[in-house]
Symmetry: C2
DNA sequence: GTCAATCTGTGAAAAATTTAACATATGGTT
DNA sequence: AACCATATGTTAAATTTTTCACAGATTGAC
């Protein structure tokens, strides 16, 4: 009889994880929801509510043990287990992801990098050679792939995403600027940079209006 | 007496804009909230409520004129005016942003690219030479810069962000993996890729649980 | 020109999320 | 050992967000 935890809560968890990691690096051993609240600019109540969705990690009169809470949130987010990632699209963005060392510390390992452009065959990123798309199917069948990151142009993204799903891949990290049409059971996380930029643009205009009013 | 429009609504607007753009490309002239609802997998009611925050763009018995609505949302998002962007950090991610031609169509123009690493001085992206950080201040004073995109490592991100704000830049597109500490009036849009990846990771675990239960 | 079908804009209801409030447990101090 | 300050977990209230429902406007068919 587990209650579903809302995505609103899940979206906040990585941020808690990040701040706790920073506290850990700074040698802080314990923290109260109030202190964390001041640091993160959210209400202490929200922090306690969020955490209590997963269990009581704190102690009355003491607060939270930073290391313990950090580890627990890590488990919740599935960081305790390895995730193998392939990146489809070896342009700058694909290479940026492949280069990002920090991901590996969290168990996210880039095991393959694919592109249609033969020019990329020359390139290898952190020891991973760029493979051509016609090798994709064989690769996926030979290796466990948990996540496919789509960093290619949107034109054929939907087609390739469906192909990947048919090959058994259950999760897509989508950077292509479109909404993928995929079966229910596939987990999709979108990173729409242009959407983000437009939100920024809106808020710039809003801020200007507020300023001019004064 | 304007009511504040919630960020929840604003986050959805670029998605409407994107879908309307696709419809426009497909030559669709009009669309009802119901049709759009089916396409976008959100309720028709939400679409109508969202749009009505900004005004009545539709017509009873007819629906919405795609071109008109597209343009209106563009205006709302501030896409009708040019935004000059500088990118701090000329690594793969910075280059990816600088290379992304589509942004320019929406009025987002990358006018400068900066890095601390002298090795990048050789590189230029779409005609933009990478400048060294010591030229940043002069550049910002000579050019109107609306947005600074931070694509450098987190270590000095906060310091540089504050420097940029002191130079008069009012908006930060932050890709560094930390929460910036900036004055109230600065508009910040975060793109935390590792947060996104962790959310994906959580949802993968959740999906596995659901599947195994059956 | 009339009428049925369509579809928006909007007020109200329902649901979800956030914040407040507090009972109760723990730690540290004297 | 007793007591006060601290701080969680949790229930309840407040707020926000989403969905429902429908009056009224418009279109298109005949």
């Amino acid at each position: 009889m587990e209650k579903e935890i809302s995505q609103a809560v899940i979206r906040r968890m990585p941020r808690y994880y990040r701040h706790l990691g920073e506290l850990l690096d700074d040698g802080v051993e314990r923290i109260s929801s109030n202190e964390l609240s001041a640091r993160m600019r959210v209400t202490a109540s929200q922090i306690r509510q969020d955490l209590n969705n997963f269990g009581g990690f704190g102690q009355q009169g003491y607060g939270y043990n930073v290391k313990y809470l950090y580890d627990e949130i890590g488990k919740i987010l599935g960081i305790n287990q390895q995730h193998n990632i392939i990146v489809i699209g070896a342009g700058n963005l694909g290479q940026a992801l492949a280069n990002y060392v920090k991901f590996e510390k969290r168990g996210f390992v880039i095991i393959g990098l694919f592109d249609v452009n033969p020019a990329f065959q020359e390139i290898s990123v952190r020891g991973i050679k760029v493979r051509m798309m016609d090798q994709l199917e064989a690769f996926v069948k030979e290796n466990r792939v948990d996540i496919a990151a789509l960093t290619m142009p949107k034109e054929n993204a939907d087609e390739i995403a469906n192909m990947l799903v048919n090959l058994g891949i259950g999760a897509i990290w989508n950077f292509a600027h479109l909404d993928l049409e995929l079966p229910e059971h596939v987990v999709v996380e979108n990173v729409h940079l242009s959407d983000s930029l437009m939100q920024l643009s809106y808020n710039i205009a809003k801020q200007r209006k507020q300023r001019d009013k004064k």
